[in-house]
């Protein structure tokens, strides 16, 4: 395709947009809602340009208008400048304190809007909701309402159960809006630093995060892979370190849900690893609202992030006086989709997942035990049923937990335990277990693998950020 942009000829393959064509020859067109890794959205209209076809001109948006042979494009006519100026004036009146808007506006000579000034931050460019839906795949936040009431948020303006704290939305947000959202948990590098400083204690390891102790052990109570989670919970409750625990329990066969338990019986009912992600944050908030204050939360890295982010951005002590959360993080490479896993097990091994005795991941193998028999396959073969969002998480060892537990790095029948804070240390000290040798290298290897994958995925997002 050969076309002319601002009197310069450009040749580019069909299927490209005017924006791509213009940028390929160094012509800058301003955009606010465009990101190369996402479907064009056409909402901010800043990339409006004039096209001429068969002698007739009209205004189109460069971000989604496909290149055509012989098209004449003008990106800087007085008409186009007028459009951009007014759009920026409208946006500046809406979001007067946003640097990105201020600088774009001043580029176009707009400094003081002629409209009533408001104090919004979100310009509704939709980058956050689209990155969450199109790339990460969890759709934790979305557009709500319509017309002038349109906004972005989590359903019912309540804590999201779907947000995995990957922070992709914060990366793409051109303003402060996402950082001000209270119901999702985008955890950026700065956030992690802040959380570590505030809640954790120990040396900072590049791969494993902040920790003071790394041990392997086998609980005297038994349980999967050493049963250390169960043991820590039981002894913690016995020693009055917390009154309740938010744990994941199997329901309806192998499916699972988060529940609050308050005694040993309850803790024991939640034994066993699930490799499933379930709604957790709404349960935590419900427990707090119901008057529970000293709660141990057991969660995957994404859930740990969510709880920490909540502690960081909200004044929980004021909302729930006496609150004391102890976070037990699990090692997690990825979690599976329940229906997908069920179908996969059935077709792969002819095993009914709901009747399985236990499932585990060990040394790159997914192992399911049913009818007294072990069936196993390569975890890598199960990529298709990995939950949305997991490829964007780089945390294998629940770096922000008070104490992290997993099977990797310790002998069979034992658990690896990483202590990261005073609360974590207290918890470990109270538990009875037989210690064993830890293989740190093995943990580091997997943690690096996960991090590398996530970094690669997040890089596509970062690359497109202006």
């Amino acid at each position: 395709m050969k076309l002319e942009i601002d009197d310069k000829t450009v040749e580019i393959e069909a299927g490209n947009t005017l924006l791509a064509a213009a940028r390929s020859i160094g012509i800058d067109i301003p955009t606010l809602c465009y990101h190369p890794a996402l479907e064009p959205f056409g909402a901010c209209r800043l990339c409006s340009v004039e096209i001429e076809k068969r002698g007739r001109t009209k205004v189109v948006t460069a971000c989604n208008y496909p290149v055509e042979d012989g098209l004449i494009v003008r990106t800087n006519t007085p008409d186009i400048i007028e459009i951009r100026k007014l759009l920026l004036e409208l946006l500046l009146a809406r979001c007067p304190d946003e640097g990105r808007i201020q600088s774009l506006a001043s580029e176009y000579g707009v400094s003081k809007p002629r409209f009533q000034i408001e104090d919004e931050h979100c310009i509704l460019c939709g980058l956050c909701t689209r990155v969450c839906e199109e790339l990460v795949g969890v759709s934790a936040i979305n557009v709500i309402s319509r017309g002038v009431e349109r906004e972005v948020g989590a359903p019912y303006n309540e804590l999201s159960d779907d947000c995995i704290g990957c922070g992709a939305c914060a990366l793409v947000c051109p303003t402060d809006a996402i950082r001000l959202e209270k119901n999702i948990y985008p955890t950026t590098a700065e956030d992690i630093q802040e959380i570590e400083g505030k809640f954790l204690e120990g040396e900072r390891d590049e791969v494993l995060g902040v920790f003071s102790d790394l041990v392997a052990g086998k609980a005297s109570t038994g349980g999967q892979d050493g049963g250390m989670v169960t043991a820590l919970l039981i002894s913690g409750m016995k020693n009055n370190l917390f009154d309740a625990a938010l744990v994941v329990r199997r329901v309806e066969g192998y499916n699972a849900e988060a529940v609050v338990v308050e005694d040993e019986q309850g803790i024991l009912s939640a034994r066993g690893t699930k490799y499933l992600r379930v709604p957790m944050m709404s349960k935590l908030e419900a427990a707090l609202k119901a008057g529970k204050r000293r709660i141990a939360v057991v969660g995957t890295p994404c859930e740990v992030k969510a709880v920490r982010k909540l502690q960081q951005q909200r004044d929980l002590e004021r909302e729930y006086p006496g609150i004391e959360l102890t976070i037990l993080g699990l090692f997690c490479l990825e979690s599976f989709d329940y229906d997908g896993l069920k179908a996969d097990m059935s077709s792969r091994f002819d095993v009914e997942l709901d009747k399985a005795d236990k499932t585990q991941i060990s040394k790159g193998k997914y192992i399911v035990t049913a009818g007294g028999k072990d069936y196993s396959c390569d975890v890598r073969d199960m990529e298709a049923i990995v939950r949305e969002g997991c490829p964007y998480c780089g945390d294998f060892v629940s770096q922000l937990a008070d104490i992290s537990i997993g099977s990797v790095g310790s002998p069979d029948d034992c658990s690896t335990v990483i202590v990261r804070s005073k609360a974590g240390k207290k918890l470990l000290d109270a538990a009875e277990f037989v210690s064993a040798e830890v293989d740190k290298k093995q943990i580091v290897k997997l943690a690096k693998l996960k991090k590398r994958n996530a970094d690669r995925n997040l890089a596509t997002i970062l690359d497109g950020v202006q």
Binding site: E133, I141, N142, I144, S145, S160
Partner: protein, 153 residues
């Protein structure tokens, strides 16, 4: 407020399983059955139809026929179409708001009435028109408001 019967929700969902593009129709059925779309219903649909909650919530918040809040025993729709507008619909709305001591979009504390504006009921010749539950009241004046509302307990 009717208790949300999750079994009924499941039945409605069951009727749409395996079909594409049915979310709006499904939500309309839920709305028509319960007069609102509850968080429990959304969670159920999300789980069974494998659709993220935020996408369901988005649709329910976008379309006017769907309500995310429980509504009263009787629903009053005040037509604000252009024909009704020029024949005094704003006054009718004012009068109803005054009478029920609620604003448009709200429900009385005794759950007797919910009040909604609607952009055209398509009975333009009868304006101003209000629709209470299924019944159209045409050519009404503000003086008639009280007696019309009195018909509904």
């Amino acid at each position: 407020m009717a208790e949300i019967n999750l079994k009924r929700v499941d039945e409605i969902i069951e009727g749409y399983k395996g079909e594409e593009g049915v979310l709006i129709q499904l939500l309309l059925d839920i709305q028509n059955e319960f007069n609102w779309i509850s968080p429990e219903a959304i969670a159920r649909i999300s789980e069974q139809m494998r659709i993220p909650k935020s996408q369901i919530y988005r649709i329910a918040s976008f379309y006017k026929a769907m309500s995310l809040k429980p509504v009263g025993r009787h629903i009053i729709h005040v037509c604000m179409g252009t024909a009704c507008q020029v024949r005094g619909a704003p006054k009718i709305l004012d009068r109803i708001e005054e009478n029920l001591k609620i604003k448009e979009g709200e429900t009385t504390s005794d759950m007797r009435f919910s009040l909604k504006r609607v952009n055209c009921l398509g009975c333009c010749a009868m304006g101003p028109v209000i629709l209470v539950d299924g019944t159209y009241h045409g050519k009404i004046t503000s003086a008639m408001v009280e007696s019309i509302l009195g018909q509904y307990e």
